[in-house]
């Protein structure tokens, strides 16, 4: 019996949606093999990784807290990816967004007003946009590759954060720890469920997802973005301006990343710290592809990916497994997804 890959006459539309499910299944299977090799009971480990973290109200709240930034960033990225604009620097845009919004909280320290949080969210979004505007300018002006420039700017952003947190933004009463003051109440995201850390960030993420869906599928500009990504020559035939769309794609994805950044510092963290994100900006790339670059799909894949963060913590505590398991699961998921995507254009033939 020989397995052969044979090209399909027409790409399978069913497979586009089945492939993420196959990928999740294969990831679980490979995960069990991995746990077995590490000498633990695979089923118990899987339970610790995927079930235990969300078996309490508190756990579900944590899941939504972690999913919010992933969903937000992934929505922005998928708009860019659809336009063939490869923003890999969401982590940097998130950092700058957190700095813009967080600085506002520090400047207006102890100012009691309901307008501070909205102002911070806007400032954070703006910050991410500014940071993404740099690769946009470089690409449209000098034809540089946005993959490289946006990625390199991430490290610049992290260094700026490090400088500010060791200098101007450092807590004056903080015994020289590299941290800002704790934000006061009106600079913190309103909490949804008392006693948990669940804040309105997840609602913002869902709202942005619905807005993005309308934007991509019902509006001219979304149509233009899709056309320019699928067939650039057809876009210029239709009279769509490519440079404008590159700007738009980068600025939108930078904006949502910046928004996610300020939500993190004003939400679960509550101050500016040297490490704001556990790699949300990079993980969101996987979220975007797993969600098929579709805003609604991204909501589901964002929840799943948030679970891998929680699962890593939980497996560490209950099973004494290394925290790196999270990274392994995320990596396997992307790996199996890319592999299963082959089945969109090919089918397996058995001879």
């Amino acid at each position: 019996m020989v397995f052969k890959l044979e090209p399909r006459a027409v790409s399978s539309r069913v497979m586009i949606y089945q492939s993420p499910i196959i990928a999740v299944f294969l990831t679980l299977l490979a995960g069990m093999v991995m746990f077995r090799l590490m000498g633990t009971d695979p089923l118990q480990a899987l339970e610790a990784f995927f079930i235990e973290p969300i078996s309490t109200m508190d756990g579900i709240a944590e899941l939504l807290v972690k999913a919010a930034p992933l969903i937000l960033i992934a929505i922005g990225l998928s708009i860019g990816f659809q336009a063939n604009v490869w923003n890999i620097g969401a982590e940097g845009q998130l950092t700058i967004g957190a700095l813009f919004g967080g600085s506002l909280a520090l400047v207006f320290y102890e100012l009691e007003t309901p307008f501070l949080i909205p102002a911070m969210l806007l400032a954070g979004t703006f910050g991410g946009m500014v940071w993404a505007a740099i690769p946009a300018l470089l690409k449209t002006r000098f034809n540089t590759n946005e993959i490289l420039t946006s990625l390199m700017l991430t490290y610049v952003a992290l260094l700026i954060l490090s400088y500010l947190i060791h200098g101007p933004l450092r807590d004056p009463d903080g015994f020289n720890f590299p941290e800002s003051r704790l934000f006061h109440n009106s600079a913190l995201m309103p909490v949804l469920v008392e006693g948990t850390r669940l804040h309105i960030g997840i609602l913002i993420a869902l709202g942005v997802a619905i807005f993005a869906w309308l934007f991509i599928f019902k509006h001219m500009i979304g149509f233009q973005i899709r056309v320019v990504g699928l067939a650039p020559a057809a876009a210029s035939f239709a009279g769509f301006k490519q440079k404008k769309l590159i700007w738009l794609a980068l600025v939108i994805s930078g904006g949502t990343a910046g928004l996610a950044g300020v939500i993190e510092v004003a939400g679960p963290i509550g101050q500016i710290v040297p490490v704001i994100s556990p790699g949300y900006g990079f993980t969101a790339i996987i979220v975007a592809f797993l969600g098929r670059l579709h805003p609604i799909g991204v909501i589901f894949s964002g929840l799943l990916m948030a679970l891998t963060y929680l699962g890593g913590d939980s497996a560490q505590i209950t099973m004494n497994l290394p925290n790196a398991v999270t990274g392994v699961f995320q990596g396997m998921l992307l790996f199996f997804l890319l592999a299963s995507d082959v089945l969109i254009r090919y089918r397996i033939k058995i001879r």
Partner: protein, 513 residues
């Protein structure tokens, strides 16, 4: 004595997923015979030839080479047997000389010293003048093809396969190629000649094998056939020639080009130089020319994908539009059909409804405050499909799933329903089956008769002669002065295409319309 055929195919069958490319094809090629392989696009000519040359493996069937059953599993084996092939698309390096290109493409044994002498010998013997020291980028398409032919002949082939060799040549270049092929045939070389140009086959070939949708339809002597009877065999139905009913006087000029110049922004692009032109209502004007002489650039400048300065270099409805984009021009009544269907005229991975929106949203008012009017767009797309006889499973089918002819009918329908007064089309029937081609040509004529100005840029002279009123030729970015079709001979057009007569408006300003 019965001669052994050089090549005999028995029952060659090849399936691709979803297509029967070749179904039980048998043919014989005798030594010295020029054998035509005739068929529409997609009839299976290329697949059959790929099986002979070892690029593809047939699912079943036998290949007999000079009396012996043979398996040709790779082009290397084919070359060793003595099969040479000249592809439609050349594989040449622009930045290298003729000699270097030839050396790169032949076996190590041949590529030794003395190859220059061999090149010269072959080129003089077969009338293929070539200077081994010239750089390929400085050569015309015809000269480039000679390199490929010489490269094949260096290996002393006994069967030469030529895939649509004349599609890029001027009439004069074609004639000289035919002399070469006849000489080769006299020397005993068999030639398998792929084409859908009927006149050529009648003139050149001894035998013709006709394919239709993967099946062998007939084997005949083309000298005993008329182009019309060949075409009918090829298509399997009788051919309708496009007809022009009336010849009423032309109306007012709809589009004017005034000394239009444009600097190509790509390397190897062609600059446009001082092009002046007018197309009147009811007139079909054709621009002939060999590929790469500025047609692409002209199309882009006309459609507004590239802007031209000053604005008054293009005038439509008394408005200067040189510096406006495609949609401003569409609102003035222009529509465009670009050369490439998939990827330029349509988005392959989008449905027909979305592709209808692509160029139709301006004139058909399909956007409301930027939001897509889905119902209206779907109605528009269904109208195109029903009125223009597009064979598809519906408005959600992807553009890529349509055959070339059907997609081209869809694109034409999309533009024509917009009720244009200026139509600009490039290579309107390139790669389209003969039935759809006739349909498209007829709809261009109908448009002109309803008073639209039609401008057709095409390399297909037969097509231009069938539909246009006025013809001019583009050569190295310059345009010859337009002539009524009756006032210019094919030879003259051919010489203009080859740049033999320099008859541009720049050099001869008195040569008005």
């Amino acid at each position: 004595m019965v001669l052994t055929p050089r090549l005999e195919l028995i029952g060659i069958t090849k399936r691709y997923p979803g297509v029967q490319a070749n179904n039980n094809i048998s043919l014989k090629v005798m030594p010295g015979e020029i054998h035509a392989l005739l068929g529409e696009n997609g009839a299976g000519k290329s697949t059959l030839v790929k099986c002979i040359y070892g690029v593809q493996k047939a699912d079943s069937g036998t290949l007999i080479w000079e009396g012996k059953k043979t398996q040709v599993t790779s082009p290397n084996i084919a070359r060793r047997l003595g099969i040479g092939m000249v592809f439609q698309h050349f594989s040449l390096f622009d930045a290298m000389t003729v000699e270097e290109n030839i050396v790169l493409g032949v076996s190590n044994k041949l590529a030794k010293a003395g190859i220059k002498e061999k090149i010269t010998e072959i080129s003089s013997r077969y009338g293929l003048p070539l200077d081994p020291q010239r750089y390929v980028q400085t050569l015309s398409v015809g000269e480039r093809q000679r390199i490929e032919v010489v490269r094949c002949l260096l290996q002393n082939p006994s069967l030469l396969i030529m895939d649509e060799p004349t599609s890029v040549l001027t009439p004069q270049e074609t004639e000289s190629l035919f002399k070469t092929l006849n000489q080769l045939s006299k020397d005993g070389v068999s030639i398998l000649y792929i084409s859908h140009k009927l006149h050529e086959i009648k003139e050149l070939c001894h035998t013709a094998t006709i394919l239709r949708m993967g099946n062998l339809v007939d084997t005949c002597n083309p000298k005993n056939e008329t182009p019309r009877s060949l075409a009918e065999k090829m298509m399997g139905k009788s051919l309708e020639k496009p007809t022009r009913i009336k010849n009423s006087p032309f109306g007012k000029p709809q589009i004017l080009l005034n000394n239009l110049s444009y600097k190509a922004n790509q390397s190897y692009g062609t600059d446009l130089k001082n092009i002046s032109l007018e197309v009147r209502g009811g007139e079909i004007l054709g621009i002939a020319g060999v590929a790469g002489n500025g047609q692409r650039e002209l199309m882009k400048v006309l459609s507004g994908e590239e802007l031209s300065n000053p604005p008054e270099s293009i005038v439509v409805s008394e408005k200067n539009v040189g510096n406006t984009g495609p949609n401003d021009r569409r609102s003035l009544g222009m529509v465009f059909v670009p050369e490439e269907r998939l990827g330029h005229g349509a988005v392959p991975q989008m449905g027909l409804s979305e592709n209808a929106f692509l160029s139709g949203f301006t004139r058909m008012k399909l956007a409301n405050y930027g939001f897509l009017r889905k119902i209206e767009t779907d109605i528009y797309a269904s109208n195109i499909i029903t009125n223009y006889d597009v064979k598809t499973s519906g408005i959600r089918s992807l553009a890529a799933s349509l055959s070339g002819g059907n997609l081209q009918k869809f694109i034409f329908g999309r533009e024509i329903i917009q009720n244009p007064n200026i139509v600009i089309a490039m290579q309107p029937t390139w790669g389209v089956d003969a039935g759809s081609a006739a349909y498209i040509r007829q709809s261009l004529i109908d448009l002109a008769e309803q008073g639209a100005a039609v401008l057709v840029i095409s390399q297909d002279l037969e097509e231009l002669y069938e539909i246009v009123d006025t013809i001019c030729v583009i050569y190295e970015g310059k345009l010859s002065s337009p002539k009524q079709l009756e006032d210019i001979s094919t030879e003259e057009v051919g010489m203009l295409m080859g740049g033999v007569i320099i008859n541009s408006q720049e050099d001869n300003p008195l040569n008005g319309i």
